[in-house]
Subunit: 200 residues, 3 copies
Amino acid sequence: MLQFIELIAVLVIAIASAIEARRRNMDLIGAYVIAFIVALGGGTLRDMLLNRHPLYWIENPSFASLIFAVALISSIMMRIYPQLPQERFVIVMDAIALGLFSASGTEHALTLNLAPFIAIVMGVITATFGGVLRDILFNQVPTIFMQHTQLYATCAFMGGLAYWWARPDHPDVALATLASIVVAAGLRLLAMRFDWRLPF
Amino acid sequence: MLQFIELIAVLVIAIASAIEARRRNMDLIGAYVIAFIVALGGGTLRDMLLNRHPLYWIENPSFASLIFAVALISSIMMRIYPQLPQERFVIVMDAIALGLFSASGTEHALTLNLAPFIAIVMGVITATFGGVLRDILFNQVPTIFMQHTQLYATCAFMGGLAYWWARPDHPDVALATLASIVVAAGLRLLAMRFDWRLPF
Amino acid sequence: MLQFIELIAVLVIAIASAIEARRRNMDLIGAYVIAFIVALGGGTLRDMLLNRHPLYWIENPSFASLIFAVALISSIMMRIYPQLPQERFVIVMDAIALGLFSASGTEHALTLNLAPFIAIVMGVITATFGGVLRDILFNQVPTIFMQHTQLYATCAFMGGLAYWWARPDHPDVALATLASIVVAAGLRLLAMRFDWRLPF
């Protein structure tokens, strides 16, 4: 069930990123690289920092082909049907992915017996650095670092914290992951609704 | 013979990159870093993704000194003789390097028994990500992702595909590498001549 | 003693970077990431290039929490007391850190029996790439590559050279490190005072 949600979330984010790349006059290659990096860049950076090899998209090559198909179909669809995809659906999926990725990143680091703070930071990197790398490639200051941005990395941090707190009681990671999703996605959607930002 | 062509291609690209860096008001350090990254950045990223260590320029330190000499000489030459180097020669060498690097990147990944699609993607990363990193340091959106750009990453992909297709029949990699160069460089030069771009 | 100076230098640089991030309208998350990357990014890149794991801030998680505290306190302080910190003190500490980081990066590479030129380049990467990554996140061309910049990477290189030259006679690294600091910081402060730049 969680894996199914993760797959849907990754696909939705990849589609939204590919469309965003096309809007900025990138071609199919650009859309593919952007979709790939937003979907898999955070986890790749985490694994390289933690020296976990082989990288999951190298071991499971279907991810790379799947995202290529997504970029291709998004590019063709945009020509035929140039309206936005369901904005609200993308926002909810992105919020869910924030909690999911934060949980999986935290889990990977805890498995290596790292300190909780570092483990949660790894969760935050997993959940947010794909977007940071995308913004670098779009030649702009990463949005999530700016004052005008509603809570984002903070939600991932809270999700990771919830995961770490819920984990010992639930050796099956599914419940702890659910806790992370509820906390991170809940906080994120509330922050967007009520324009919550960091006070400093 | 192939190694000789590779060396010439790397040197020509390093010279052209160092001159480009100087044109953008960088000093010798900037020219060195840009020349280094364009020449060796793609292969370095590939090796870090594949966890192949030591990196080749760490094991063979002469590359780093050679590129420093190139950056230094290019910088001095530009003062004495500020015209462009032979534009056409640079373009042909860059096209040849596209095929060569794509072949070598694909080969490294196939040696590790990776899936063909991932192997060819590794070839494309080897051939193109030096330029992507250069564009990030030049503070611009990577050219190869833009719609107005003539086929580039696509040529590297086709070169890698040709390599993968030709490889089983030619255990000596020279012939498969030649196939990659002919396909990638041929397609690249045709794309530049006839302004071929991705249709979407 | 050296470790104490290093800690002070890292803290001062982290504070200055966090304040700079706040000036550019980043929030606490942005200030934290910038402070973290400026303080630890160069060494992290060096260790990933050299395949040295676990990374030191993963093994010693107190660094990550300490820099978070620094970013938090700097952010709060800036509200209450918006003047600059002692500009001159920051400049001197940054110059000292240039020599210290260059020495430690060179030492790590020499321990692995790398060629001296590569070892000193690793020292320069350690000392300067935090700032390069910061400039990429600030969406500007890295300052240290520009012609208008007073000697910076060059000072780190000279510091690394001094370290390499002094090392065999002083198995205790403290004296060689001191040589690196004197050379790098001295050259840097002179370059700033007399506006020394690379001639090309």
